[in-house]
Amino acid sequence: MTFGTTPRDAARERRLRRPDEPVWRRTPTGVAGVVSGAIVLAVGLIGGSADVALLGVPLLLGAAWSGRPGAPNAGVPQRETQVHLVPDDGVSRPGELGAVLQVVPPPEAELVQVRVAAPGHRPVDVVLPATPRDLSLRLATVRTGPQPTFVADVRGYGPAGATSEDPLRATAPQSLVLPATMPLGRVPLPARLRGLTGPHVSRRLGDGGDLRDVHPFTPGDRLRRIDWRTTARRSPQLDELYVRRTYSTAEATTILVLDSRDDVGPDLRTWRGSGARRVDEPTSLDLARHAAASIATAAVDAGDRVGLEDLGRRRRPLPAAGGRRQLRRVHHGLAVSSPLGSPQRRLRPPQLPADAVVYLFSTLLDDEPLHLVRTWRELGHRVVMVDTLPDVRPVHEDHLRIAWRVTSMERADRVRQLESEGVLVVPWAGTERSLARTRLEARAKADERHHSTPVRLAGSSGAAR
């Protein structure tokens, strides 16, 4: 949604306005009051009718007297109303954006009319007394990313509306709305863990809590690992010592791949870029941001490393790391991602760290995600597909209905293919979102059950007895 310029700005741009031209002018009401009052008064005086002349007095007085009670000698305002829109960072509720409109009218003004508009919102008109004022503005949105906010048009009126100033405009800077998160439980982990420490139990020998086996003491084993009870039972003569060996802990790497090549809403008619999208309905990219932020939070809370890759942009990906600072970086990276022109087709899929679980957030409106998923799986990555297409509203136009029918069938085919290949597809739109946590936890538990029997590593051939 765009807003035009005010007549004053347009006149300045065209150099039609002189620098010394007064900003306050007499209005048609003021002129009509003086003219009609003078006519009525003159008719009464000429005709000798005092009562007729009296009818002209309130018109003449109302239009010509520029004072008011308390300041009877106040003149016509000279300076323009000062207007500033300051972003309000103290908004407490999520999904709400705020700003403060500071209005400082000249003391001679009587009223100030304020019109506040925001894209996707109905504007509000308010008439206020012409006193210095800070107005709190709020708007609610479920959209994330860079969001245009408020545009305020302000106009001051002199006494009785006989004078007025040209409208003034103040525009609030764009706000970057970070995605909200949803609490998730356990999320699927990679098939192989990495690192020498971390929150997860790996299948390697090392320092950890979970018992792997009891093994004869070998050089290099730490003395505190000796299991004296087993040693006493198996080797009463103490000719051989036994140690308790544990699985080492490790960390998981989660890579979030955001398909920001398109950003579509529930209204099919806006898919071609025409028409305004509602601010109370999330688009596919909003859903992707929400899902990615939720999974990133769950992974970081579990002590894992998280990275971010954007399919829509050829830029350096955010490398995987852990911690709260990395989580903030991921959230910011998600918020600034947006479709940028016509996306080029990638010849190679993005390079991902080995042994990482990949979460791909896509609308599945083309075959590109399918190729990527297959390539990553061939490379040994575990892939979870998050379907971010919002629930599309039915359309009545024939051409749109047919187009959507074809598109949705192709899309359903892609989802079926992925599921048949063992890829978990998690819908994130509408009511399906509430089931996402259950789906992810079920898959995480299933993966855990599948790998519950530890795989013996080549270097640890010592058999447990």
Partner: protein
């Protein structure tokens, strides 16, 4: 898009949820539609009362007053409101002569009311919120103007009882008002 789709689309648009509204933290306010209702009533009432008072044909008076009501209701502006003040003045001017008709005091009140309400109706939308403090600030000045008018009217009514002629007094007042106008115009 065929006709059926057009109708369905229109129906869908009507059923669609309205867009959310920007929230502005203003004080207690009066909705703008009040002015859009009251302005035609005041304008039509002024014309009708003046016409009926001087004994014009009722049907003619009602038609003219109705026309003003419609005009102000459809397109409120300064022109119909001020015309509605000039018209009673002309009607009163043509009425059988008497020194001072006290009924004009009521008409003067109505005249100011009609002009001010028309201004409000012209400048505020039906959904505009007019803060009570703003209304009070404007109304205080209108009360002063009205008090001065009624004061001049009272003096005129009183002076009209004397043979010397209240017109002289009223003329002086008018002269004063003209001076005020000229001074105000020179300041603007």
């Amino acid at each position: 898009m065929n006709l059926t789709a057009e109708i369905m689309d229109l129906r869908r648009r009507r059923m669609e949820r309205p867009l959310p509204q920007v929230d502005v933290d203003a004080g207690a306010s009066v909705p703008g539609w009040c002015f859009h209702v009251l302005a035609p009533v005041a304008t039509g009432g002024l014309v009708a009362l003046a016409g009926l008072h001087v004994g014009l044909m009722t049907e003619l008076v009602l038609v003219v007053a109705g026309a003003f009501v419609l005009w102000v209701a459809i397109r409120p502006s300064a022109i119909p409101a001020h015309l509605a003040v000039v018209l009673p003045a002309v009607v009163l001017f043509g009425a059988p002569g008497r020194p001072f008709d006290p009924f004009v005091l009521l008409l003067a009140v109505l005249a100011l009311l009609a002009v001010r309400l028309a201004w409000w109706a012209e400048h505020v939308g039906r959904r505009t919120r007019v803060e009570g403090a703003a209304l009070g600030r404007a109304a205080r000045r209108d009360v002063v103007v009205l008090a001065v008018t009624l004061g001049i009217g009272g003096v005129g009514w009183f002076a009209a009882g004397f043979a010397v002629g209240g017109l002289v007094v009223l003329g002086a007042g008018a002269l004063l008002a003209l001076v005020v106008v000229l001074v105000g115009a020179s300041r603007t």
